[in-house]
């Protein structure tokens, strides 16, 4: 952002009329009536249907691909393979705010030398019907040399493990290896002296935890429609968290100038980080480029599981030392995260977040980025943090039990607060972790009694939150209504939040503002709707655009009244004289000013182009009560409360929605969800019948407590709330099961067979 901009903090200064209110969702009616257009809903005349042939092997060299029979099939219009995508240099280059290795990306969207996981794309067909496209896939002949594969992260680090990329040399170790391996990177964060810290401890606990890869579980599959013109330009409609990043990736992979590709985001049926990358889009464009006909592609659920980007599975060792009076003296962790078939897991943020909730003097965290024969991982809300903080929070909980201290008290003794030196670098500014913990203590849930076989667990979580590049355009229409154009896909109610902030600034009814999500050719660059940035960054840009529109209107009115612009103020939706000294004028409302616009200088608008800085970190906690059936191992969730610092809840309903959604995803991750592979390295549960996400009938109402400790860097105090809710629940669930059973499980998911096995082993 322009940091000279005076972003006056408004939240504490006056009564807010729209910010913090549960206004009507602008896109609500269309979504509940089925009118809203999602990724698979877009159609064009003459449209072809694209399908992808996928690898049946976890690891194999591609000897040959023969597409001649498929191409000869009546109705088939194009076939693409690795030969249709130019190879790219191996280097990490910036794409928006992300570092991307296009050599890996071009191999992920279409296998080249080898297939690296079950479901890896090998060829694609465009045909006049889906049936013909499927028939054509069966006619493509691929000769493979099957290679040994490795699925588990620890196995993949072994010296004799099958190696995915012979030229992958481990970064961050000294001396640098001379031979390729599956270990892409070692990273380390250090603070103080952990050996000295452990020497001061009265109790030291060290445990190792395993988590499995899980999918974001968005209900809407990946889908797109690409239309390439003979002119060399193209249109792409797709379900994405960031149309500008899709444009960047696809234009690079297709060798196009960025301006020649227009990407229009559809409504999105869930993303959670999984729709921040491209899979189908460049393939559909390549097929369309060959035929100059629109090509539509939609993944099946099986493809979503096998061929998109789940999150890492991991092996995590945590060691914490503590005094009898509850002071943590030292903490260390070693994180081994699966990256999937290409480097780039979320182990780095996992390392940075692991102990971030605590004010510690001695910390050492080591992380390993490890390749396995699985799909390349993608982000899943607060990428990396749920795994590391799960392990840490389980150890903290057990240590509290060992020293006979309440788990909240222990966390309060060690809680990070303003001025805390984090292990990952900076000292924290104002944060609300202590307030979150105190809100737990004050809650009814915390004091409620438990019955037999029931237990209560608590976990906490930290996420940085981010800002980033954002454009907003606001037009004052002839009748005094406003059109608010943003470039951030609405993944969690952002239209309503933007309207609340714009209405607050302009002093007009929120219903007079119509929010529109722009395509890439209609508005300047916007980073992804990700990283809990949209309400923060897009909100800042919206506020700035509104203030510019107001300044524009004040100038018009000043000229009409023939007084200096400084003598015109904006209040309650109208321009008014600043004082009686400015003259006697009746207020001019926004519709009145809009009506006169042609005569006072033409259209009125406000634009903002910023790179938002100063995101406020988020802290949260989950508290859950469970009942364990000791005969079946089934865990029933009885009561669940999410407590989190939002900074300022611009629209409380959508803040609560983020909290509740995160809690449900935590419950699924903790209790049931996992990628299950056979000995052949193929996924065995690539459907929602066998990969079990929680259903409404599995859940109690998720209660929420919104804590508000304002972020001083946002005009209304926003922190961003989308990431943190996925973090605390894994440990909260584990700690609750431990409380109910007296058993400490160290592996996710804690599915009924595993819980039952643990109970039986303990009783034996």
């Amino acid at each position: 952002m322009d940091n000279s901009l005076d972003m006056q903090f408004s939240a504490g200064g006056k009564d807010l009329k729209y910010v913090g209110k549960r206004t009507k969702r602008p896109d609500g009616v269309d979504k509940v009536t089925g009118r809203a257009q999602f990724g698979a809903d877009t159609r064009l005349p003459g449209m072809l249907h694209g399908k992808i042939l996928r690898s049946p092997h976890a690891h194999a060299r591609i000897i040959s691909i023969d597409t001649s029979k498929a191409e000869a099939l009546n109705g088939v219009k194009a076939v693409v393979t690795r030969d249709d995508f130019e190879d790219r240099e191996s280097e990490f280059v910036p794409a928006g705010e992300m570092m991307v290795n296009y050599r890996d990306m071009v191999r992920n969207i279409m296998a080249r030398e080898k297939v690296l996981y079950d479901g890896h794309a090998v060829a694609a067909v465009a045909a006049t019907s889906i049936v013909i496209a499927r028939k054509a896939l069966k006619l493509i002949e691929v000769e493979y040399e099957v290679l040994p594969h490795v699925i588990n992260v620890v196995d993949a680090m072994a010296p004799d493990a099958p190696v995915l990329h012979d030229d992958l040399i481990t970064d961050g170790v000294d001396p640098k290896p001379t031979k390729g391996s599956n270990v892409a990177k070692r990273i380390e964060f250090k603070l103080g002296d952990v050996a000295a810290g452990f020497a001061q401890a009265d109790e030291i606990l060290e445990k190792t935890f395993d988590t499995k890869p899980v999918h974001q579980g968005y209900i809407e599959p990946h889908a797109c429609l690409a239309s390439f013109s003979e002119s060399g330009s193209a249109d792409l409609w797709c379900s994405t968290q960031g149309q500008y990043l899709v444009r960047a990736h696809c234009s690079k992979l297709l060798g196009m100038e960025i301006s020649k590709l227009r990407v229009t985001p559809s409504e999105i049926g869930g993303g959670f980080g999984g729709k921040t990358v491209v899979f189908l889009e460049p393939v559909a464009l390549a097929l369309s480029k060959k035929t100059f006909r629109p090509v539509k592609m939609t993944m099946t659920r099986d493809e979503v599981f096998r061929s998109s980007g789940p999150t890492s599975g991991a092996n995590v060792r945590v060691k914490v030392g503590i005094t009898k009076d509850g002071k943590i003296t030292a903490a260390e962790a070693e994180l081994k995260y699966q990256a999937g078939a290409f480097q780039g897991s979320s182990v780095q943020p996992g390392c940075m977040c692991a102990f971030a909730p605590y004010d510690l003097e001695n910390v050492n965290v080591v992380g390993w980025d490890v390749l396995t024969n699985r799909p390349k991982v993608a982000a899943y809300r607060a990428p990396g943090a749920p795994i590391s903080e799960y392990a840490v929070e389980c150890v903290i909980d057990e240590l509290a039990e060992r020293i006979g201290m309440d788990a909240i008290e222990l966390r309060l003794i060690n809680a990070a607060k303003e001025g805390t030196q984090t292990a990952y670098g900076p000292k924290l500014g104002p944060v609300g972790f202590v307030e979150v913990l105190e809100a737990i203590q004050a809650s009814d849930h915390y004091k409620a009694p438990l019955g037999p076989n029931q237990g209560r667990g608590i976990g906490v979580g930290f996420w940085f939150n981010i800002g980033g590049e954002t454009c907003v355009s606001m037009s004052v229409n002839e009748d005094g209504t406003l059109t608010l154009i943003t470039g951030s896909p609405d993944i969690g109610g952002s239209r309503a939040s933007m309207c609340n902030m714009a209405a607050e600034e302009l002093g007009i009814d929120v219903d007079k503002i119509n929010p529109v999500i722009a395509d890439t050719s209609s508005l300047g660059f916007n980073f992804l709707s990700a990283g809990s940035r949209t309400t923060f960054a897009c909100g800042m840009a919206t506020i700035e655009a509104a203030r510019k529109a107001i300044d524009n209107m004040r100038e018009r009115v000043a000229q009409i009244w023939e007084i200096p612009v400084e003598s015109v103020i904006w209040e309650d939706g109208a321009a008014r004289p600043a004082s009686s000294n400015a003259g006697e004028f009746d207020p001019m409302t926004l519709p009145e000013i809009a009506l006169m616009a042609p005569k006072t200088g033409g259209p009125i608008s406000g634009h903002a182009e910023i790179n938002a800085q100063g995101a406020g970190p988020g802290f949260g906690a989950h508290m859950v009560d469970v009942e364990v059936d000791k005969e079946t191992g089934h865990v029933k969730v009885l009561r669940y409360t999410v407590i989190q610092d939002a900074g300022k809840a611009i629209h409380p309903s959508y803040v609560e929605g983020q909290y509740q959604g995160g809690a449900v995803q935590c419950i699924g991750w903790a209790l049931n969800e996992e990628y299950i592979y056979g000995e052949d390295g193929r996924m065995q549960n690539s459907g929602f019948l066998d990969y079990r996400i929680p259903l409404a009938s599995d859940l109690p109402m998720i209660e929420t407590i919104i804590v508000e400790v304002p972020n001083p860097n946002h005009p209304y105090g926003v922190r961003g709330v989308g990431e943190t809710p996925i973090i605390p629940g894994l440990a909260a669930m584990s700690n609750a099961i431990s409380d109910a059973t007296g058993l400490r499980m160290t592996e996710l998911p804690m599915s009924p067979p595993k819980v039952l096995k643990a109970i039986k082993e303990a009783s034996a």
């Binding site: 280059v93 910036p94 992300m98 990273i187 250090k190 990952y424 670098g425 000292k427 940085f464």
Partner: protein
């Protein structure tokens, strides 16, 4: 001179250095100094780094001011889902 702390992979990029004194009044000058001191560092090094000034994290903010008493940390850039 501003004292700059390097953590995690940023420290690794700088050959294990964890602290350095830099003559810089802006983030851009800080990065220029880093490139001059470590000529072998990756060309897109700064795209992978965030700068925390007095606890506030900045990403892509060349012209952000740094003063002598600022607490400056170079940390890995953060994204999200």
């Amino acid at each position: 001179m501003v004292k700059v702390i390097l953590t995690g992979s940023v420290s690794q990029m700088a050959g294990g250095l964890t602290e350095m004194d830099v003559e810089a009044t802006t983030v851009r000058q800080l990065f220029r100094h880093l490139r001059e001191r470590f000529p072998n560092i990756e060309s897109h090094m700064e795209d992978d780094i965030a700068v925390a000034i007095n606890g506030t994290v900045y990403q892509d903010a060349w012209f952000e001011k740094i003063s002598e008493d600022s607490e400056v940390h170079l940390i890995p850039r953060v994204g999200g889902g």
